[in-house]
């Protein structure tokens, strides 16, 4: 009973985020626009751009991941869908995790696929693509889970969007450091294993604590 319930919820949430435009298109457009502004604001010298491309791309990835967080739980909260979800067979922690997973599949995955392309367009070496993709996948997944915790904490407060950003951005710092560090290490020829392990460790940290935090926050918001 549980696998089919999980699958049903995942499919519904994925459908919701894809069907109503919003999510992926908005985030991808935001990401691209932000990156297009970089050469305009910093000047078109290839030397400068290729140097800062990895770090800036990671910063923009973090910001783009923030965009759809507000709608992650808010919609179902307002429609009363959580009353239905809570009478189902799944624990609230698992429900929250599945919602984050659907969010990531709909938005984070697409942003991750765009990351190496954008990085190379800004002048990073082409060889960086592989690691850029791997790092962006792990990073955006941690962004989704940590962001979910922020979204669940602000549930029920009107206009929680900015509040989510304030709560969540400090926790986006480690993956930005490790992810950009990984790129830097690759470009300078240093071993990438250190940054990669730290990035993975942070991903596992988000995976372990995110659902528990979301479950607790949702329970208190939904009484």
């Amino acid at each position: 009973m549980t696998p089919s319930s999980s699958l049903a919820l995942l499919r519904r949430d994925l459908g919701l985020s894809l069907a109503r435009g919003g999510g992926p298109v908005l985030a991808a457009g935001f990401f691209l626009t932000l990156m297009a502004m970089v050469p305009l604001s910093l000047g078109p010298e290839a030397q400068t751009l290729s140097k800062i491309a990895p770090g800036l791309t990671w910063l923009c990835l973090a910001l783009a991941s923030l965009l759809s967080l507000e709608r992650l739980f808010e919609r179902d909260y307002e429609d009363g869908v959580f009353d239905l979800l809570r009478t189902g067979p799944l624990a609230l922690e698992w429900v929250a995790f599945l919602k984050c997973l659907a969010q990531w599949l709909g938005t984070g995955l697409i942003l991750s696929l765009m990351t190496p392309v954008v990085m190379i367009l800004l002048g990073a070496p082409v060889g960086v693509a592989g690691w850029a993709l791997v790092a962006a996948l792990i990073g955006s997944f941690s962004f989704a889970l940590i962001g979910g915790a922020g979204a669940s904490l602000t549930l029920g407060s009107r206009k929680g969007g900015v509040l989510i950003a304030l709560l969540v951005l400090p926790f986006y710092v480690p993956p930005v450091i490790f992810g950009a560090g990984l790129m830097q290490a690759f470009v300078t020829g240093a071993p990438v294993s250190q940054a990669l392990s730290l990035l993975c460790a942070y991903g596992l940290f988000a995976l372990a604590l995110g659902p528990i935090a979301m479950g607790a926050a949702l329970r208190s918001a939904l009484n």
């Binding site: 109503r20 429609d79 009363g80 009353d83 009478t87 189902g88």
Partner: protein
């Protein structure tokens, strides 16, 4: 599985205000309790507590089966509240499919729900196009799609037309005759025999701290 509901010295607060003080009652399988009382007296809060959404401030509500009346089992409840749990942009049919799969219902149950609640004309519509009564009928479908012994209903009749009020009453009666139990907040009397539980405001007691 026939469940009974045992409520023991239950106390509920909303903010600093006592809603319910030391309430005890018992609902046997096949019995329907109608919660009545003025607006704001705590009917919805009580129902949400029985559904397990709210932790009581004192006492407890538990479900027991016939085998061991001391051992509480997990509530197998449907909760139908004021919010209909429908996403406005999705087709009514897609919502039914999701609810059936999520709650572990059967395809036969879904077909039966569509037939008994006369839902087939609604399935191709987005749920935001539906009227309040149509939405309520869609919500009631999950009572039939996934069978559960406990129904917690919050003013289920209010948006329905006369014809569908009779249909829902029929559904409730057949649920009771199969050994299910119902706790139902109502303002108008139900058209079958129920036990009334009238909630009174506890003299607007206020607690600080």
């Amino acid at each position: 599985m026939a469940l009974s509901l045992v409520v023991d010295a239950l106390s509920l607060k909303k903010g600093y205000r006592h809603l319910i003080n030391d309430l005890s009652f018992f609902v046997a399988p096949g019995e329907c309790v109608a919660l009545t009382g003025a607006n704001g007296v705590g009917k919805t809060t009580l129902l949400r507590t029985l559904a397990g959404f709210i932790r009581p401030d004192g006492g407890r509500a538990r479900y027991v089966d016939g085998v061991d009346p001391e051992e509480s089992v997990a509530a197998q409840a449907h909760y139908l509240g004021h919010a209909e749990a429908l996403s406005p942009g999705r087709l009514a049919g897609a919502e039914l499919d999701f609810q059936r799969a999520f709650l572990g219902g059967t395809a036969a149950g879904q077909a039966e729900a569509i037939r008994r609640l006369n839902l087939s004309p609604l399935l191709e519509l987005e749920t935001r196009m539906l009227s309040a009564g149509q939405k309520r009928r869609l919500s009631c479908a999950r009572l039939i799609m996934a069978r559960r012994p406990v129904w917690l209903l919050d003013e289920p009749m209010s948006p329905l037309d006369t014809e569908h009020r009779a249909k829902l009453a029929e559904l409730m009666q057949s649920h009771l005759s199969e050994g299910g139990l119902i706790v139902c907040a109502v303002h108008d009397p139900l058209p079958f025999e129920v036990r009334e539980l009238r909630l009174m405001a506890p003299a607007m007691e206020t607690v600080y701290g």
